[in-house]
Symmetry: D3
Subunit: 213 residues, 6 copies
């Protein structure tokens, strides 16, 4: 009975939380309202929206290389508020010579990427563990199906640059090495899963411990 | 003219109400913020989210049997806030000997159900009025297509239990007998629709009057 | 009658043509290929498509009244091939004086209906068994949320006509009386569900037995 | 680094802004809360919802004819709050003798339209620039695929009326003449695009300048 | 083991049967089967799929400039079969000095575009006829909401290149000038819609007559 | 020019391959036609469909334990044809004492799982590398958001069983260890990605080489 009441209560009270809508946008645009935490209006008042809301300059220049020689700059709704509800986003990835984009997946999007500079060994693995990989060059396009593990490596002798697009405003990025070894999963589970010794697991965990991210 | 203005006004003013988005989640999760009525933040601050938000213990034990010998416990977003935006929910249904889950439909989801205990006569009716029903037993799975009327009855000589899953965080449940006879639809309409006498309709309405729910 | 047969025919024969895919169409159109059973090409060759494929004249005139005084003519993809993949369809419903559109639901669509002639008592029941019903007149529009039980009755003293639209090319129609009592659901289950005697159930089943459809 | 922090910050802080959900509604209904600007509750408290929220009388009578002889009255979520999250809307269009509905598109919906009165020359253009047009009469239905340019003209000698339905609660309307010539697009671009002289462009711009809307 | 084989068997053999259905892909991929007209299998046998199916080289080099100084090369499912069911595609657009991409819309997709070279005046018009346009430069990104009219012009003194991505495997392209004036819409309708004389309409029609496409 | 022709050609010829439709099913059901390779009809003729098509008995008994002590039996559309177009599927997973379900993801679905027997350490990792894990017991439910890496381990002293449901008819399963080390990704890339020596990589590859799957 009290459960029934609880259901009813939340049904009425919180119904707006699970607002549904078309699978398509229901307005021309809904620019992310950066002050919405205080105003509660998710969309910027459309009369205040300008062309600047639909232009992003954050990927004009390459970022700083990581330990694996990758400089990746996301251009998703969190930094480009105009993308909100429009269902797309981008990423710029620069590679040092020999730079690696570690095996990763995007849980919410397909990616279509084009090489702007250099020679990139690029591929993905399907759910049958089959690999689809090759070296692609400037101007070539490759598609990575939604949610599948994929990776890249600069195999040329100059810096390389890739531009990726996604069919989600916030595709998400899950890097396999840090997700698996940097997230404190029960050690015994990892040993059995990878057939590694406690010492080997410890080494991997040390490398990917959060403070190293 | 004033209509045009009205349209414009609401277009600007209320645009955020009809926020659209991908047909997929656009974040890893968005745990229902139970205090959102006051804070206006639908999602619980993700830094406060814990594993408890993604675990639900409400269907560990069977509920109390109804008049028809059914004890049904929904596990949807209204009681399991972590399901919000994830597109799924569950229900546990226990049946007394001879217990019945009356003909009903879920307006927003397909259901896939597995028998955990007992022998259940289970089926659905398609839009051509064809019935697809049989007795299923422990470990057997049956699927009920979205929106179609379906039903179950415990035909074994012990209690029975079914676990159902839905492809919506809030599938909705419309029980045919109470929806039709417990909702105060014009009596004359019901008489013509079912070919029943005023006396017969009155009896049905009495049985399913709200206070009996 | 022949229309009904046509619907049935195409319903069975061409059902595979309407397999789903993106939430949006991926072509301007894909006119249902009536000869596809032999050619295996779901879409009519677009070079053979003409404006006639996008125009439907089947609801120009009212149909024949049923026992309950309703003449309903669907205009879905099974009779209007041009709707294929476009996500919409229509229905024309004419009512004799006192005519009734029995409680029913559309498992795959919301309906928005407008009264073209007459006075119609029209409503739906939500999942809390609350009724939302009133008499609407010429030019008034009412919306029936996806999957919920709804109904109409001509309460005026002249014929009445309603035009309904759906957000699916094939919304489906499940009439409650015939789905429940005309589909051969286990008698004992119906007795418990509706609290009726075997005699009362027998009477209802006789009335809605398939040969009566 | 600071970018990473920014991403993280907005990721947490604004995550609720991009709330996702099923491609279907997740409640029976969510009536637009007209006072939500102040209360921040998008849905009207469901205990206060009445049948009036699901009935719209705004298209009972024709509107005032525009310069081109069209009187169009939208019935979308901005004026009919009950449509919110239900994925459909309507429009009534009346035509004076010779009245024209200029070439336009609905960026977010397919339209299915029926002629209530008169003779309408009606059509659309596909992405291969093929036209599909003909004169349709009372009771005939025509479908206009999502996003494609379409148009109508009353070619009869009496007023005409069309009723259109959409598979979006807010399909949007983009009139080609005013969008192209009334929006202040760089003059030189328009000259090259249409092969018109500065004088001709100026004339068109004057005609469609905002103050004329 | 035999189950595994069964899964594999049906996975390969019947994969095309489950082509699409959820709003998401229902297989890792379904490469367009170019011989399917004869075999009726929409997906290429997955055992024959190679990495080449997911790589496209067709936009490595710029195409031939059109009369307006644009060289546009689509990279959609019609030329890149591996995109089938993956929900994305691309386009490369090169601009001669002063080159123009005429006002156009994509009926089925949002576009997100990045400038690879040059200075581009770029913008779109919303459904209130408001323009959002500015000059963007190398490395800058602009988003064009689904279905809205947009345009570009090379305002620099060198060739320019833009790369656009879409959230549909086949977004469609409707060029306003040719769709409106090259599709044989009733002359009288165009005169009223644009306020032009028969002579002016005739000039525009001559320019955009199909043989000129 | 030839490209344009190619586009046109495939546009017409292959348009049926990318048949789109509602994000929802467009028929009550479309049972997978196991003989469709020859008949080209994806759906079994609905007049031949029986209740057996909607019931699956394949997960009544546990399977054979793998090296990691897991016996997993999928119940997706490839083995349960009645699920086709209905958007759901299931999996039964039995665990030996200490048995492990290695870190994996489902690229196309959220999973909601319930413990039927035993004590299971269960969790997932979000895109910020935060872990959400705990030991859950009989009757407890846990949800794993779409596309995120998750895992389980039987930490009790008896066999354990979990039942998982998915919001896709074919969610896909990507096991991290075999996807990364059993798919022949360039050795040098793996060394950099995981910070392992060639010897360590070789050991892992040996363990997960396809013949070991």
């Amino acid at each position: 009975m009290s459960l029934a009441l609880t259901v009813l209560f939340f049904g009425l009270f919180h119904s707006y939380v699970t607002l549904a809508s078309d699978p398509d946008p229901v307005n021309d645009f809904c620019v992310l309202n950066r002050s919405s935490a205080t105003t509660s209006l998710p969309c910027k008042n459309s009369s205040l929206v300008t062309v600047e809301d639909f232009v992003f300059s954050g990927i004009k220049f390459r970022g700083k290389f990581s330990e694996t020689g990758l400089a990746s700059i996301p251009s998703n709704v969190n930094v480009f508020p105009g993308l909100n509800t429009l269902g797309m986003s981008m990423v710029r990835a620069d590679f040092d010579v020999g730079g690696v984009n570690v095996p990763h997946s995007h849980p919410r999007a397909t990616e279509i990427a084009v090489v702007l500079e250099g020679k990139i060994y690029s591929g993905f693995v399907d759910t049958q563990n089959r690999i689809f990989a090759k070296v692609i060059e400037k101007g070539e396009v490759m598609v990575f199906p939604r949610g599948l593990v994929h990776f890249q490596m600069n195999v040329g002798d100059t810096w390389a640059t890739i531009l990726g697009s996604f069919d989600s405003q916030n595709p998400g990025l899950q890097k396999i090495p840090s997700a698996v070894f940097g997230s404190n999963i029960k050690e015994e589970l990892l040993e059995k899963a990878f057939g590694l010794t406690p010492k080997e697991i410890a080494k991997l965990r040390k490398r990917f411990a959060p403070h190293r991210l």
